[in-house]
Symmetry: D2
Subunit: 357 residues, 4 copies
Amino acid sequence: MHYAQYLKLDSILDAQKLESEKLGKVAHDEMLFIIIHQAYELWFKQILFELGSIKDIFQADEVDDLKLGTITSRLDRVNKILKLLVDQVTIIETMTPSSFLEFRNLLNPASGFQSLQFRRLETLLGLKYEDRSTIEKKFFNLRLTKQESSELNAALKEPTIKELLDIWLSRLDLIDSKGFSFWKTLRETVVGMFAQDELLIQNNITLDDKEKSAELENLKKTIESFNVLFDQEKFDKEKFTFSRKSMLTALFITLYQDYPLMHLPFKILNSFLEMDEWITKWRYAHALMAKRMLGGKIGTGGSTGHEYLKKTAQRHVLFKDLFKLNSFLIAKSQRPNLPEHIKNQMSYHYQVLKKNV
Amino acid sequence: MHYAQYLKLDSILDAQKLESEKLGKVAHDEMLFIIIHQAYELWFKQILFELGSIKDIFQADEVDDLKLGTITSRLDRVNKILKLLVDQVTIIETMTPSSFLEFRNLLNPASGFQSLQFRRLETLLGLKYEDRSTIEKKFFNLRLTKQESSELNAALKEPTIKELLDIWLSRLDLIDSKGFSFWKTLRETVVGMFAQDELLIQNNITLDDKEKSAELENLKKTIESFNVLFDQEKFDKEKFTFSRKSMLTALFITLYQDYPLMHLPFKILNSFLEMDEWITKWRYAHALMAKRMLGGKIGTGGSTGHEYLKKTAQRHVLFKDLFKLNSFLIAKSQRPNLPEHIKNQMSYHYQVLKKNV
Amino acid sequence: MHYAQYLKLDSILDAQKLESEKLGKVAHDEMLFIIIHQAYELWFKQILFELGSIKDIFQADEVDDLKLGTITSRLDRVNKILKLLVDQVTIIETMTPSSFLEFRNLLNPASGFQSLQFRRLETLLGLKYEDRSTIEKKFFNLRLTKQESSELNAALKEPTIKELLDIWLSRLDLIDSKGFSFWKTLRETVVGMFAQDELLIQNNITLDDKEKSAELENLKKTIESFNVLFDQEKFDKEKFTFSRKSMLTALFITLYQDYPLMHLPFKILNSFLEMDEWITKWRYAHALMAKRMLGGKIGTGGSTGHEYLKKTAQRHVLFKDLFKLNSFLIAKSQRPNLPEHIKNQMSYHYQVLKKNV
Amino acid sequence: MHYAQYLKLDSILDAQKLESEKLGKVAHDEMLFIIIHQAYELWFKQILFELGSIKDIFQADEVDDLKLGTITSRLDRVNKILKLLVDQVTIIETMTPSSFLEFRNLLNPASGFQSLQFRRLETLLGLKYEDRSTIEKKFFNLRLTKQESSELNAALKEPTIKELLDIWLSRLDLIDSKGFSFWKTLRETVVGMFAQDELLIQNNITLDDKEKSAELENLKKTIESFNVLFDQEKFDKEKFTFSRKSMLTALFITLYQDYPLMHLPFKILNSFLEMDEWITKWRYAHALMAKRMLGGKIGTGGSTGHEYLKKTAQRHVLFKDLFKLNSFLIAKSQRPNLPEHIKNQMSYHYQVLKKNV
């Protein structure tokens, strides 16, 4: 076993062929351009490998206790890699726009749009073809080899991680079991809370009438937004992609995250939120970089790179529902008290961790 | 001299008074909330101190050679601090929304909107009151003490760094001196470049007619966008905040940044671009954090925090013109050749750095 | 409630008094020097606050299940803050040595050695006075006010987090219960593993005699190092600060970290390791910075700053035993199989997370 | 031109062959292990490419003014890449020691020691074979293919960047020209400075005799350390690797860094310092990671990885002389005033940057 053979360094380090060199005049910064994109693709492969294994776990008939820890550490790894990809933008930024122009035309019409792995990554997570922006749709199958195209289309038909997460959440029996209905208890709590809030506003002598009615109006809106959770009909009118049961389960997990049983499920939800944030940050850093590199120039394929990238940064958020969740949170001290048998269910068999004598 | 006295640690470390503690029940995470905001304010003070000194240098009758290096290192420092402020967001993100709800109401209606130093920072850089968003205008003077208010209004009347930069650029005699007209030479170069591009498209046999006319249309748009630089009337129609002379000078500096004389001026331009990027990243990270913390909840003062912050992130970009500059760049190998006497002017007196014998 | 009042910004932002200004000539960079140290002290306060609360939890008669998650998130926060403190070094590095020399003498003999909070932090974690380096001992009580001195000495008498962690580990009933002896089972596994390794070496035809005996010698050393765990007498000869029972428990937790019950305990151990790493990185970055700022110059108080800081970086590692733990690890696939009743004990009551139907 | 072809993604993404998979049981984390090392090697290639181009510039008969900016931006890029490599360690740290043990033996005796590119990188910068540690010497040529070995030995005979920097510095005519002798003037300044310091100590009534003599002893040591610069004989006794003329020139550059002519040379010196810091940080982070992964276990080849790496971190510092430089710095306000003709020489021909009217 030899280091260089093991890592196939002959393939890896022989894969930088500068177009500018072929034309007889090396554009120094083309090397960086190639290598950074290759590094990106290596990391995309790693992310796909991790996400693929997470998908496999979620797809099993039964999600084993011992696998929840595995999922959280792999999600954590993916997020650390995404952070690195964002940081990596600082390196491409050492290339000046003028240096880029030395070889930019030689690459035409190759474009980052064509990264198959990135499209597979988005697809695996849960981005639907129909939710992509117009320009992305246009580019989706463009200039792919047949094999790439069929790979991608096959990927589109697979269940996505987002869908599997929805299913997993909806199957957990947390919110309605053995005579305990979480959503009814929560509604009672919330109603009580808001009644008290209204009283406080009404009796607040420092507010004038106008301010008072503004505050009450505000409160009313908040109440209405909460009602979405308690009423299937209202829920259906909003654009949730998770089912109502999944949303309530996710809320339960978030509110009781300090219970040992809820710890890993909460970490999972949280890691997906973070993943969305990192992908958004990456798109955004990418957009700023394109703005700097190209100014407002019309890019390859007719898109103004920066505007395009900014739009996808906003449009392609995947776990929107998990973000919305936070608008239904209440303070820990106000959360409904759980019945004893539920509390016990959410603790460990093994009592020893409690003892310290 | 004693460490604690020198740093006035008695004041610094005695300034954390938890509202929740006053009410008898410490909300653990309020300490973090206070301390991180205090750390932000300390760094804002440092940034104001650095930017203030840069403003003073630019305001002098004569900007000394020896001061250009000072400006670049201070801008570099400011950018490093801004990066830290972005990184700092990861710390506040360790607070869960539920924990925040434990003390959030106690702070009402205090809000980050009220950071006087941040408003002064934006103002000093060049953000005009009239360019702020509606909600920012509403909050601009709200709940300030009289002294704060008058400080802020005085600040609004001061020349801004952006204006001083514009003046400095417009006074540099780079683009039109001793029989050399940069913009005319550039126009000739660009015209020649585009003529060749047109020829290439016309003769390209791999393009069908439709593609050909699309490419030509594209080229025409690019030519038009360049013409803005060469024609004062067209320039005036676009929304530049720098004068045309400043824009041309900035373009000259960027194109010839490898000449010793241009090195520091280029670094200055570049640092302002970076500063805008960091401030934008900071606003964006802030917006994501607010989204996470509050979901879609209506925030203090009636704004949905996240939407508001995202909007300012896009609206409050200051050095837009410097970003636009990059759309006028051409490859280094295509830039106009300078006449010998100009080249000499942009080198050092002292030739010794060239010799290596 | 007003933002500036809540944060006591009048105290915070009025606490920067430049010594150079008192002498009539502002040294520009002194402002940065003051503000960065104040920021450090703010964060030290936050760290002490978090660590203090962790100590309180560990000191309770019974460590509640619900508190383990709290401990891990606070440790995580402390580590994120420590990372920020390391990053912050890049900001002080924007000050050149020459600029530092403009005001350095004015601070004499004030010195970072005198940060009471940092000494309290080290003490709270578990650094003993007697384990400090000679120079640190000399400075430990120097130039403190009476109150500071008595605070610090009181802190020295308190149980440390490291000691409480040792106690908590030793009280967990994981390694020897209900007819299952972890250490005996582990010994059997390890002995079998090594016997097989020996066979492999003996039968390896690619090794010559000299290489063979070197490999066998190596193996013997590894076996001996493992025996330390199984033999109290050998254990006592090594310089462990944790008890043997704690070490075995920590090893158990690490080997079975994928069991739900072990997840949080493992995270706790891991966070303390990370904390040591961050503190070490901080000291190291600090040492490099001092080297750059002062060269080999003799520092205030007769120490050459850089050498001193490098020495403490190596000497003041606190959780040495947790680092050593990793030398006792074996591959997951080789770990002893646990008896069914132990496995059950380490799973959840609530079986629902397993079901996915 | 197609994205995947341009980047040779078929080679890049087909180069991950897991040894564990060949043996029939995929060790999940082996993929990460391979990919992160491939990413490291890609970046090493980029660093070698940049450093190679810097070497070429320095080796030319004449170092053109226009190239100094090129050198600084490439050094800056290398440093940003090195920072990324340090950050990348956080990703490999998501692999637990137990997971590593699942495939570690399969790699035996492949080892990071065998990275040819890293050895070439150290060699190109200036690390001599004879200055490597014993273990590094042993590994230097081990298990290389013939071609690799001859490549490496050829590299050892090339002039190094450090040597070329020394030559470049020694050829600059800054410190002794046209009747101005920098070192004589500096010596006069320093002597005057120290005489005043002595007076201050003698007349300081707050010091007792013992303290007074300690302070004077300190001062004497500082004076002696300065004399090394002024006396060739003393200089020769110290272990400098740069010539005395180079050291004085570097000191001149550092002291007068605010003069336009000195700006780029100073940035170059500073970037090499930073590069050493990043390489040291990388080795250190690597050492900590090895410690965590292997504990005190005897590593492949008989080295205890962590100790070895820590030792090289201290031993392989390249630009020691530049670090020492800082011990000869004096405050900007105390630096010798330059004669008018030298000042003029260090400014621009073109006076326009001064004007702001």
